[in-house]
Symmetry: C2
Subunit: 376 residues, 2 copies
């Protein structure tokens, strides 16, 4: 049996940026942390051992996908998501709400929840705050997320407030359900909404803190508002979030998004960018992104990163990777996904080291010099 | 620099079956050996470290695919195929002839060779015995194959003899070219043809032995003639092949084909079966093949082989593998290919152990009891 409680220990800080450790019965998570996305019970094109070898302490699973296929009750009968996907370490699951709204058909939002048809087979489902928690508990997620509504930006302030208030009511219902159903050591995070309105973000945060959660996410960003606007929202939201609780910026992002958000006090991230881009031939490198399918790499004998400990970054030439993508070989997405996840985890490790050393400004200056990206 | 010569050392025998070791400058190959197929410079959906971990001593590369993409001259400029694909151990390449005839467009066979158009981009090429050897030397293959013609069975005896005689003339030209171009320690094998005619197989073998090769392949089988007919051809061909040279049955086969051919004195095999089947959801197991996509596996918590040392066979439930294939995830083909290659290498290791112990008959009886397949 697993034992131990969920906790967050704040470590070194550098300006608004923080290091810390989230402890769970399944292991610790060093923050700032990047969580690779394992949508359907697998970080696409990756073996779990290699996900771990990149330095990932935790992966994310998608409730929407898993509830539809293979089904939460089935995963539970098979021993839970950790056993199912052969990943014994912490797993965070989202609530399913975001993907219901973006992927499903004939969805209908009410106070009760969201009814929808599966994008896979057209079957009808209802996702409520209570059902989302039930599913996340069946999966056995260590960190669970409240059901919320996540409107696009721009949105009128009235509509944004109405949506935020619905999410806040769902937060309370989620917590009540979680207290009924969850196992010891599991945690439920609330999600701050309010689009890009400072007053709404503050109001949302106040309501969530009144309910009380062991961690707070910032939702409703990275939905098309642009990096500067996202940073502006973080600038007026993060300072009010509880210092002693982890802060999770959902669905973010590209390396520059992450560096800028860490500088503003965010602790946790998830994004499909490294895995999705890897499958499509885009590699992140210390000098910025490269598209390995470009003809310029056909005869390039150098690896993506000769100094890396990661076999995918070190042991294969760009010419070979180029060939694999041109020939449509599985190994291309496998190696580029692995490389990108290593790049992301190295970035997080570099941020943690810099914060601990009080040298985040130097790190950010170096990041800008290498990539050309301005993040503060 | 690599050093050492190519040699074959015959070890224990059991009836017609033989154990042995092929030595090359890049490492030894324990026989009977199965060579995973790395068509386009990658054993599909496999990392080279994992190919090695299954027990493979050698992989096969396809001259036809590699000459068209990325191109033999390019691979040579990048350091050769071993460096290119990050496989430092022995590689055997075929001549390209078989796939020119099965895959290319507008092919035309003459005494000189085969002219054809690429199936990828329609570009025009000419493959002669000399060009095939040139390509195989550019790739840096440790074991190279003569260009041959490989007619389907059934074929009239006159036509089969004419084709076999062409292959024999090409064998002589291949050897002359190889002696000009090859590096120390590389070896060229001749290929016995003659369809399913005993007199033609004998005539082919005699002509090849007159030219003289360090190894002899049996070509033109597994082309639709059926297992019994293939075994009949082996029965009248193998006994006349030189005892002190390795014997390679090209393009074979399923496990029962291999067990039956080993019992008849064959030392080397290659086949796309384990990799191709793995990508399509078919797994070989000790109790025969299973299609993991079948609904019966949706809730099956057992792995494909709990006693295996191979992570793919041991650490993932059939239910999970079923889910991965249903969801179209990369990890499904990755794990099933790995499992199948492990199954094949375990089969070869079992055959070698049985031959060394003089207990091949027991091994074959056990194989029949487990799989229902009769092979002798």
């Amino acid at each position: 049996m697993l034992s131990g409680a969920f906790s967050f220990s704040l470590g070194a800080t550098d300006g608004a940026a923080r290091c810390g450790v989230i402890s769970t019965p399944r292991g610790d998570i060093a923050t700032p942390a990047f969580m690779p996305v394992g949508t359907a019970g697998t970080v696409k094109a990756m073996l779990p051992d290699h996900v771990r070898a990149t330095g990932a302490d935790i992966v994310l699973g998608n409730t929407y996908h898993l509830m539809l296929r293979p089904g939460a009750e089935r995963v539970a009968a098979l021993g839970g998501l950790h056993t199912f996907m052969n990943w014994p370490r912490p797993i965070l699951t989202d609530s399913g709400g975001f993907q219901v709204m973006s992927l499903s058909k004939l969805r209908k939002l009410t106070e009760e929840g969201v009814s929808f048809q599966s994008h896979i087979d057209g079957s009808k489902h209802m996702l409520t705050p209570e059902r989302s928690i039930e599913i996340q508990c069946l999966l056995g997620a260590d960190i669970q997320m409240q059901l919320d509504e996540c409107p696009a930006i721009p949105i009128a302030e009235d509509a944004a407030r109405e949506s935020m208030l619905l999410s806040a009511r769902w937060a309370a219902r989620s917590k009540a359900a979680f207290e009924e159903t969850s196992a010891p050591g599991q945690a439920l995070f609330g999600i701050v909404q309010g689009a890009n309105y400072e007053t709404l973000r503050r109001e949302s945060l106040d309501k969530l803190m009144e309910i009380g959660f062991p961690g707070y996410a910032i939702g409703g960003l990275a939905v098309g508002e642009g990096r500067d606007e996202m940073f502006r929202v973080l600038d007026f939201t993060c300072p009010h979030m509880p210092r002693e609780k982890p802060r999770y910026l959902m669905g973010v992002g590209k390396p520059a998004d992450i560096v800028g958000a860490v500088a503003r006090g965010v602790d946790m991230f998830d994004c499909v960018a490294p895995t999705r881009s890897g499958r499509h031939g885009q590699a992140w490198t210390r000098s910025g992104p490269v598209n390995i399918k470009n003809a310029q790499f056909a005869d390039d004998p150098t690896p993506l990163d000769p100094a890396s400990d990661c076999p995918a970054s070190r042991d294969y030439s760009k010419a070979y990777l180029h060939h694999l993508f041109r020939a449509g070989e599985y190994l291309g997405p496998m190696l580029l996904t692995w490389h990108n996840l290593q790049y992301y985890q190295d970035l997080m490790a570099g941020l943690r080291t810099a914060i601990a050393a009080g040298s985040l400004a130097d790190f950010i200056a170096g990041f800008k010099a290498e990539t050309g990206e301005t993040v503060v």
